[in-house]
Symmetry: C2
Subunit: 477 residues, 2 copies
């Protein structure tokens, strides 16, 4: 007797005697056909019971969600819909599931309802497919960087600096929350706190990643980052995972090459390794889109969108060119854009990004050389004195997928910029050291992992691509 | 002209014309020999300059830590210590490094000093080797689990529950730290906090991982965890990374098999892929040990210790047997142990664990079936009513490397245990749901990643195996 997973059994091309499989009942039909799933694949294995050979009381316990163990012979299926099935000889109920109270019924549940039952939602096809894809993308990322000579680096989660200014931060403390110690000035005395100073959850590992790039050459982070912003939208999480590569001696062109190759590579990986899950999610998305008015439907299916990225060269366009294109575009002239583009310097909105990708260039777009004043302090100033070597990569449907830049490697220019923005040189002494000792051109980018998972699964709400979403007023589970 | 990394050049077995390489100067000897490193490997490439062909002012800027670009021909070396070298034709200083102030001089620095300069310490051989190994171990872990059908799962960092009781927690909040809002009872009103309740940094992703194991079958986490304990030792961090696999339908024996296979596999991976770094670190450790009294030196070298784990079967011993062995052992009878083992129920200390591994069994040891009252609430109670299906894996030198258990899958037993320990059923409703709907035997374990990195690098202080350690009074960088 050998124990196998459903995935192993379904990939078997021979029949087998006496196999054992354990899993959870998805459905039990006609007192005869058990659809059994164990998470190893989207697909269920059909287990056929001859009800005359089993106790009725036992069969009654074969309910949706019950854990069972089945022993039998793997045979060619006589029915439609599957090529093989198990003729059950022995059946054991491992864990019951009361059909009266089990939340995950064999019917369509709303995503809102499943979010409230996030501990059980991977028992549905949709969420098991999403989370398998998430896992697969995660591995593809580690694999890509490892094969390309990058070192994975764990940047700190608790940070004493708030320098990047990427957003509001969460305070981390062990002080008495009600009666914190105060100093002479009457302020909270953080020198008595655990770390001896005020600490927050990180918004980015980039600055620390730069320190390692400037010694190990090529590094990347893949870790959680945080924003304490009260954004209750389908695109924001308070806690999300970010990938941030950083490379010494690489300029912005190299950065674009890297990002393009990286994105194509990881999407190709899941196109190759997750066909079943992708096909299922593609169909799910098509069904969902059918409920929408024609105008709101996507022109491309899920896999078409992924192929659109993988098969096209990303078009590289300067911000200045892009502004010209947008200013002269039909939707701008006819005032169809919500935000009309009037002049150079405007920050682009999602509607503009999508226009460039989906209507104008019809391929993924890399915008570069943005106005300095809408970008972060560490981006390298161009010779024109008004733009920085920043890039954003724009994808169909989703808009910005990657944001990156060549970093300002010149100590004097960096210090001047920090002064202008009132960023503490004292706090970032170590970051400035990189420009004092062996400075060099270097670049990197950031990718919000959940954005990528949304793109590769077709899920529309970011809460549905992370196991336990953290959003304003919600830290359940 | 082609640009190559040092690793690429050194693995070249042919000579090459006109190669370019960029990196940082480690040393510049006799105004002629530059040892150049770019992080791609432990080794430097020797760049030979004919000083008559270069400006003296330029050569003066070739100082330790400076970033330079070299162009020349890759030729067989006439000197000792390297088989190939670059005959430099062009040299460009990319970033100076003032030898008067640069902290990383070409000499031995104390680890304490390097911790204060953690942003520069990977510019030393020791720390670049440690961090490359850390990265390699990280990838080996992802690779092992992926190849064995596990899904990577990102469990939440901010958590509303404090149920595991694994240690003191850090509070996460956006409330006014000085004047927090109070409720009617005069307590801090967390309903006004960002997440609408009191939240902390996670101590473990296990409970959430169980939810996914009970639908996807085999999952693992690899993420940061936190302990707000005021432990200023060489073995504790406030922020560290943990790996936690969790598998449905797997009992404690399966758990031991998995952990043993996993540990051997990831150590084998670095033995194969990181030979240079390991050889360097082994020598470093030997040098360090020479400064110690004979009695304190390790009997095995770094690689011998790793082979000791990889090549031996792990001895599986019940806690009860182990207590008998320890009680009757020489160091116990002669009162050489700091903590004398008198009776069943005692918690084992590092000295006992190391005795079992290094002196008694002379192989890695898995202890199992621990007394229930020294282990966590979720561990499965044995039929004897007093032990639980827990296991600890003990390694030479370091003691406990892995802690795991079969989980209590029986709702009634689990609820009784939670009641006894005053753990809120209301808060863990979702965890109990797993036992209500399709419960089954399942198991998992936790591995502190830094422990593993210490073991595989021979570093003695946990602060030296993570980029930016977080400890009491320290959240620098």
């Amino acid at each position: 007797m050998i124990t196998k997973t459903v995935a192993e059994l379904l990939s078997q091309d021979v029949t087998l005697q006496d196999v054992t499989v354990k899993g959870w009942v998805r459905t039990f039909r006609a007192n005869r056909f058990i659809a059994l799933n164990d998470g190893s694949t989207l697909n269920n294995i059909q287990c056929v019971v001859d009800f005359e050979n089993f106790e009725e009381s036992e069969l009654k316990r074969v309910t949706t969600g019950a854990a069972i163990q089945v022993n039998g012979d793997l045979v060619e299926s006589q029915g439609k819909g599957q090529s093989i099935e198990i003729q059950v000889k022995e059946l054991a109920i491992l864990g019951d599931s009361d059909p009266e109270t089990y939340p995950i019924q064999p019917k369509k549940h709303s995503f809102e309802f499943l979010r409230e039952n996030a501990h059980l939602r991977t028992r549905t096809n949709t969420f098991s497919a999403v989370m398998r894809l998430r896992s697969s993308l995660s591995f593809a990322i580690h694999k890509y960087f490892t094969e390309n000579g990058f070192y994975n680096m764990h940047t700190p989660i608790v940070t004493g600096s708030d320098a990047e200014g990427a957003g509001e931060m969460f305070r981390v403390s062990t002080l008495d929350p009600k009666n914190p110690p105060l100093n002479d000035k009457g302020d909270v005395n953080y020198s008595e706190d655990f770390f001896g100073k005020e600490t927050n959850l990180t918004v980015s590992g980039q600055l620390e990643a730069e320190t390692y790039a400037m010694s190990l050459g090529k590094v990347y982070t893949f870790g959680p980052t945080f924003r304490a912003e009260n954004s209750n939208t389908s695109r924001h999480l308070a806690e999300f995972w970010m990938i941030e590569p950083e490379v010494a001696f690489m300029d912005l062109t190299g950065n674009m090459d890297l990002a393009e190759d990286f994105l194509k590579s990881v999407l190709n990986y899941v196109l190759e390794h997750n066909k079943e899950d992708l096909t299922f999610l593609e169909k799910r998305l098509l069904d969902e889109e059918k409920t929408k008015p024609q105008a709101e439907r996507s022109e491309m299916s899920l896999i078409e969108k992924m192929r659109f990225v993988v098969d096209n060269n990303f078009k590289r366009v300067s911000y200045t060119e892009a502004i010209d294109i947008l200013r002269n575009s039909k939707p701008n002239k006819k005032k169809k854009f919500k935000y009309i583009i009037n002049e150079w310097g405007a920050d682009l909105q999602s509607e503009h990004e999508r226009f460039l990708v989906e209507k104008h260039f019809k391929c993924p777009v890399i915008l570069f050389d943005y106005p300095a004043n809408i970008k972060a302090f560490y981006m390298r100033l161009n010779e024109d004195g008004k733009t920085v070597r920043a890039m954003d990569i724009l994808f169909p449907g989703i808009g910005e997928m990657v944001g990156g830049s060549q970093r300002e490697e010149r100590l004097d220019v960096l210090v001047e910029k920090m002064k202008a923005l009132d960023i503490s040189e004292e706090e970032l002494w170590w970051y400035l050291d990189l420009r004092k000792y062996g400075t060099a051109v270097h670049s990197g980018f950031g990718l919000g992992f959940e954005r990528l998972v949304m793109f590769a699964t077709g899920m529309n709400n970011i809460r549905d691509v992370i196991p336990y979403p953290r959003t304003p007023q919600n830290a359940e589970f």
